[in-house]
């Protein structure tokens, strides 16, 4: 019989054993260091493999807030409208005024999220943090953007998010289980002395996200009640024109909303809130207010099926003209007014027994 090519005669030698043991030891020590506060504090939060700059950031801030306060009671999710429009501090004040109780809230609004990507994040957040109250800030755009479009895809294709939704990948698994792996990119950049985007002290931030997740803006826009200029080719105008001129609510987004509403049965109270928009936004819709009302009606119908409160803000008209950042985003002033109202409304609903949350 001819000799085989592979002829290993002995068991693995000392070098192999030493290598395995030392490697395990080194990884364990490095993981312990990566999980420690002194290591994490000077660094910007890891991105979880995402191209979305806010996702990893908000996750890290939420973790830090829970470490600091010991609990999280309510989280508000949605798009940039929530990010700039929900001030947890004002919400907490409004809530306390009505109930006399403290509540710890976090703003998990991330830019360009749609109903589909928000639903994905809701699933993960409920699983990981079990908040007693989840507020979904919604607007017509949430239902017009397809899941394959760039913005939702950035969130849904984040390896960590995809893994958490059941799409296994080694990258996703490692991001979920290892802080060393999460901070690996930071360490790589630090080793190359590239501090911008890695060290807080060297990172330029235009609009800093506060520890409670809120990104306040001071700018005031005055044009928000007027129709856009015919020749205006700014991003804001072309974007809204593209998605609203022939407004469609996609089935996949409505299904996603239903999957969010379904969590109401799992012990987490869900509330859906219409994010305030300026009157000027209606000019972008092909059928003006009737398109907008179609959105309100459909969301209201679905919410009532799942017995979830859907609170509309449009009839209240409580945002002053100096409360707007643009057609659909609130600035710091608008955010404070809206959040205080929301806090009071939640407090009242709780007091009246209209929503099922256990007292903090």
């Amino acid at each position: 019989m001819k000799p085989a090519t592979l002829q290993i005669r002995t068991a693995p030698g000392k070098t192999v054993w030493f290598t395995v043991l030392l490697f395990i030891l080194l990884i364990a020590v490095a993981e312990w260091v990566a999980r420690s506060e002194p290591f994490q504090v000077p660094l910007t939060p890891p991105r979880m493999g995402s191209r979305h700059y806010q996702l990893g950031h908000k996750l890290a801030l939420l973790d830090r807030l829970i470490r600091k306060t010991g609990r999280i009671d309510c989280i508000m999710l949605g798009s940039s409208m929530v990010d700039t429009g929900f001030d947890p501090e004002a919400f907490q004040t409004g809530y306390k005024k009505m109930t006399g109780q403290d509540i710890h809230c976090f703003n998990f609004g991330i830019d360009a999220s749609s109903a589909t990507s928000t639903a994905a994040l809701v699933r993960i957040i409920v699983e990981d943090y079990h908040p007693r109250l989840l507020i979904i800030g919604t607007d017509p755009r949430d239902y017009a953007v397809a899941r394959e479009d760039r913005d939702p895809a950035v969130v849904l294709k984040t390896p960590w998010v995809a893994y958490r939704l059941g799409d296994f990948s080694l990258d996703g698994w490692l991001l979920d289980h290892s802080y060393l792996y999460r901070y690996r990119q930071h360490l790589d950049r630090l080793a190359r002395f590239q501090f911008g985007g890695t060290l807080w002290s060297k990172t330029k931030v235009d609009n800093e996200i506060l520890p409670n997740g809120f990104t306040p803006h001071s700018k005031i826009s005055t044009y928000i009640n007027d129709p856009p200029h015919p020749g205006d080719d700014s991003f804001e105008v072309t974007y809204y024109t593209r998605i609203y001129s022939s407004y469609q609510m996609l089935h996949e987004n409505l299904d996603s909303l239903e999957s969010i509403l379904d969590f109401n049965e799992s012990g987490t109270q869900i509330i859906v809130v219409e994010m305030p928009v300026a009157d000027g936004l209606y000019y972008f819709f092909g059928n003006r207010e009737s398109d907008y009302n179609r959105f309100l009606t459909r969301v209201g119908e679905l919410a009532s099926i799942y017995q979830v409160p859907f609170w509309q803000t449009e009839p209240l008209d409580f945002i002053p003209d100096n409360g707007w950042l643009d057609y659909s985003h609130l600035n710091r002033t608008g955010a404070e007014i809206f959040s205080t109202w929301l806090g009071q409304h939640v407090g009242t609903a709780e007091y009246q027994g209209n929503i099922k949350t256990s007292q903090p």
Binding site: T5, I8, R9, T10, K14, T15, T19, D188, R192
Partner: protein
């Protein structure tokens, strides 16, 4: 599928798993199959070109010797075919725009850049192998290979396909006919080669390459001569570690198949003269050029001259050889200049041989050896300028190097890469002093394990940010 990618690792493991379970003959068929799969993973046309080149050279070689007489016409036909194939693909970048313009003038317009011909993977490397094979068969130094699978595998063998080593058929083909044994010793050597290669490529070369200031060589006037010299040294070490790392990795991978590949580097920056440098830098190319360009020219000149040490014989062969080397690296003026410079260095070094016997560097006093290392290294890095940059930029950089009115070093951050440079030198020094590239295997198990763990951890960290650079020599 680059050789440092996870895909390549999985591909190799799968190839090995089947390979080990097969007898020798099917092993070669399997290796040929996976080599073509590897090529197709880049582009199927690369496989088609390689298949055509393989078939034509195989058939030509079978008819190259009749009644023990070499057929020179067929040999030149074969050499011409191989050289023209190489020239066609390498020069396509020059003539395609002209062709597009000509078609457009005839009303046969194509999209801008619509005519594109990619240089087939490894073409420069396997062209040299086919030429040396034909010449060896013609000279009767090698019997034409009658087994098509073996010959095709000689050219296509995937570990060496991308950028060599440039193996000779005389040495490589017999390995394909012999049983191959992969034992503990060979596995240890292969693992060591892969680890050293990964350190050179992923840790040293890529780190040094990404540390360049973006405009350091684009706007040389912005920098002082000491700063430019510093970055040239960094480039020299980045280039060396990139190619040496590649070679170590593919030799290690090939070791797992029981097929030994030739080394390409032996600590070249410790060379004491240029003759020694070319025995230590890209060894398989240097030896090929020596055997198939230098020696034939030298022999022809010797036949027409009374003395072997004639001026013509000292000047012409190295100059032509290095010019050919430059053209092999690229059909451009800067590459020809690079080759010409090295030809010049070799020529000047040999002139004293006209009136005095040559003293080998190892027989010279230590100070002369050290001085030799410094001079050779300095001139080599000056020659890297046209190797890396187009002619106008290279001339600008040389000009900036001459202006020593300002010697300030303002970019102190550049010194942060020094530990990596030191690492490269230490690695070389250990191998140089022992004259044994496997010296690390003699270290204690704990030391070896600690080094491997540190290397693995560094690779784990330094490959996170997509800073990986393509292998430089893969583009030739």
């Amino acid at each position: 599928m680059t050789i440092t990618s996870l895909n390549y690792f999985i591909f190799t493991v799968l190839a090995l798993a089947v390979y080990y379970s097969l007898p020798r003959r099917p092993q070669n068929v399997w290796l040929l199959f996976v080599s073509y799969v590897f090529i197709v993973s880049w582009d199927w046309t690369f496989a088609a070109v390689l298949g055509m080149v393989t078939s034509i050279n195989f058939l030509l070689a079978l008819r190259l010797r009749i009644n023990d007489q070499g057929q020179s016409g067929l040999l030149w036909l074969g050499i011409g075919f191989n050289v023209l194939t190489l020239v066609f693909f390498r020069a396509a970048g020059f003539f395609l725009p002209e062709l597009e313009a000509a078609l457009a003038s005839l009303g046969l317009s194509t999209q801008a850049g619509g005519l594109q011909i990619l240089v087939p993977l490894g073409l420069s490397y396997y062209t040299l192998q086919t030429i040396s094979y034909l010449v060896d068969v013609y000279r009767g130094q090698l019997k034409a290979e009658s087994d098509f699978v073996n010959f095709a595998l000689y050219l296509a063998y995937f570990p060496k396909l991308l950028a060599g080593p440039i193996e000779r058929a005389r040495a490589f083909l017999p390995k394909l006919s012999q049983p191959r044994i992969v034992d503990n010793g060979l596995i240890a050597q292969s693992v060591m080669l892969i680890f050293v290669g990964l350190v050179r490529k992923l840790i040293i070369a890529d780190y040094l390459t990404t540390s360049f200031l973006p405009d350091v060589f684009e706007i040389p006037a912005k920098y002082t001569p000491p700063e430019l010299v510093f970055w040239l040294v960094i480039y020299a070490f980045a280039l060396y570690n990139d190619f040496a790392g590649y070679t170590d990795i593919v030799r290690g991978i090939s070791g797992f198949f029981g097929i030994d590949l030739s080394p390409n580097f032996r600590v070249p920056y410790f060379s004491r003269n240029f003759t020694e440098f070319w025995k230590r830098w890209h060894i398989t190319l240097s030896e090929w050029l020596r055997d198939y360009i230098y020696y034939p020219i030298s022999r022809a000149l010797s036949r027409s001259s009374s003395s072997y040490r004639s001026l013509a014989n000292l000047v012409v062969p190295p100059l032509i050889t290095m010019l050919v080397s430059g053209m092999w690296h690229g059909f451009s003026l800067n590459m020809i200049l690079w080759g010409g410079l090295h030809g010049l260095y070799l020529t000047v070094e040999r002139i004293p041989a006209l009136w005095r016997p040559i003293v080998l560097p190892q027989h010279q006093p230590l100070w002369r050896q050290c001085l030799g290392i410094i001079i050779v290294f300095s001139l080599v890095i000056l020659a890297w300028v046209p190797f890396r940059w187009e002619l106008p930029a290279a001339l600008q950089l040389w000009e900036a190097l001459l202006n020593w009115s300002d010697v300030a070093i303002r970019y102190r951050r550049m010194f942060l890469v020094l530990p990596l440079l030191l690492g490269s030198l230490v690695l070389d020094f250990i191998q140089y002093r022992s004259e044994d590239e496997f010296i690390f295997l003699k270290w204690s198990p704990l030391t070896k394990a600690a080094c491997m763990v540190i290397v693995l951890f560094c690779i784990f960290i330094l490959t996170a940010g997509n800073f990986e650079q393509p292998f430089i020599y893969q583009t030739f």
